[in-house]
């Protein structure tokens, strides 16, 4: 059996989307659903409700006016964003444990993911881009494939060591060479099962190969650049260090200059710290 086959099997056993999120997603897709049903579904969990409100009032949404209740949050932010917020809170827990294969200690993947999400969102804001609702969540989820591949990486540690010694090879290429699948594809496979929509799946699938995306370019580009900024700042660099390729196309297509990227990095640190307190 090839590694690819083993990974495929592993996807089948991989944890499903959290049940609460599944229910909410179901409601979201139903145009006739009553607002109150969504509110009550979340309110059933007081801890979650408190965290949703904290997030809604955080820099995540650049809140100008405090939202005091779940009802108000739903009205102001809309059900889709509230769903993404609940999903973010659920997923962040899964990003906490150490990943020995990738050489990441506890919390490192979560910090890397939050950094990526904040940077991607800051870039979107800087560019005055509107239709990028999902950018934060896509950034948070972009490396979820690491969870799936970690045991395989650990098992093939020595081969990775050898392949990585060829300095010019990007780590996702090494994953493809050794395992037949990189973490971006693995992550997209999980998201496809979760039914989160084509944009989110594309952002995860192509975050290391943004030129290959056929649609949803803005979202893919923002997540790619957010990820590259996070790696550049040394946030969540495991055995791969900074050995990933940055693509010139997103920089060109979005019309970004060096000072835009550096300005974004300067804004990201403090916002990332605020969110880290909520999400951990």
């Amino acid at each position: 059996m090839t590694f690819r086959d083993q990974i495929e099997q592993h996807i089948d056993h991989f944890a499903e989307m959290p049940p609460l999120c599944q229910r909410l997603l179901g409601y979201l897709e139903d145009p006739d659903v009553d607002f109150k049903v969504i509110r009550d579904t979340i309110q059933y969990d007081p801890g979650l409700t408190a965290n949703v409100l904290k997030l809604a009032n955080s820099v995540y949404f650049g809140a100008v006016q405090e939202v005091a209740s779940l009802q108000a949050a739903l009205v102001r932010l809309g059900t889709r964003r509230i769903f993404e917020l609940v999903l973010s809170l659920n997923v962040s827990g899964r990003l906490v444990p150490a990943l020995p294969g990738y050489g990441l200690e506890a919390n490192e993947l979560l910090r890397h993911s939050i950094w990526t999400a904040v940077a991607a969102q800051e870039l979107a804001a800087l560019l005055g881009m509107k239709d990028v609702d999902t950018v934060f969540t896509a950034g948070l989820l972009h490396d979820i494939g690491l969870l799936l591949l970690d045991p395989f990486i650990a098992e093939q540690h020595e081969r990775f060591g050898r392949v990585m010694d060829e300095q010019s090879m990007a780590f996702d290429q090494a994953e493809k060479e050794v395992l037949g699948m990189d973490h971006a594809e693995a992550g997209a496979r999980i998201l496809e099962r979760w039914n989160l929509g084509a944009g989110m799946a594309a952002a995860v699938r192509w975050h290391h190969a943004p030129n290959e995306a056929e649609e949803n370019h803005s979202l893919v580009y923002l997540v790619h650049l957010g990820d590259m900024l996070a790696l550049s700042e040394g946030v969540g660099t495991g055995i791969y260090g900074l050995q990933f390729s940055v693509s010139a196309e997103p920089v060109r297509a979005l019309g970004l200059k060096k000072h835009h990227l550096e300005y974004t990095a300067s804004k990201t640190l403090d916002k990332m710290r605020e969110l880290e307190n909520i999400l951990t």
Partner: protein, 162 residues
């Protein structure tokens, strides 16, 4: 033995021989350790970005985020603490890069360029210069002995006083 962690965009100074200054995971950021062996004074900074002009407001609140404002303040504080230019032992590490064949993302390179210029203008020489590549680095300075250590990709290298 106290370990003093220097956060990203921060700077710390110590004169206590039991202390070790440490900063984790320098990617494109640059870390600078400065030590005066005669008075046993050490400082360490972890700068993210080259020039404060990209975000002046942030530079007011977090001067150590930027190489220009950060180094200026670090040197001022060290001179106040008794550092003499002629005795300063300076170690520099970081400035790594993601793979960037088209040169769109040169934060690491720019950080080091600005740093080198500032040191040169101040008449300061680097004892250690471990920059570039695409690994991240963790650095520490033992305030008691002046030993500087770089950890990167499982390798540990010590630099004792010259």
């Amino acid at each position: 033995m106290a370990q003093i962690i220097v956060d990203i965009a921060d700077m710390r100074i110590s004169k206590n021989p039991g202390d070790t200054l440490i900063t984790y995971s320098l990617g494109s950021c640059v870390g600078v350790a400065i030590y005066d062996p005669v008075i046993g004074l050490g400082g360490m900074i972890h700068c993210m970005l080259p020039l404060s002009k990209v975000d002046r407001e942030k530079a007011q609140v977090r001067p150590y985020m930027f190489v220009d404002t950060g180094m200026q303040q670090m040197l001022t504080r060290l001179y106040e603490g008794g550092l003499r230019k002629a005795r300063a032992v300076i170690h520099v590490a970081g400035g790594s890069q993601v793979l960037d064949s088209q040169g769109v993302f040169k934060i690491g390179e720019r950080n080091f360029t600005v740093l080198r210029k500032i040191l040169w203008k101040n008449g300061l020489l680097m004892e250690t210069q471990e920059v570039g590549g695409n690994r991240s680095r963790t650095i520490s300075l033992d305030v008691g002995t002046g030993r500087f250590t770089i950890k990167s990709g499982g390798r540990i290298t010590h630099y004792d006083l010259p």
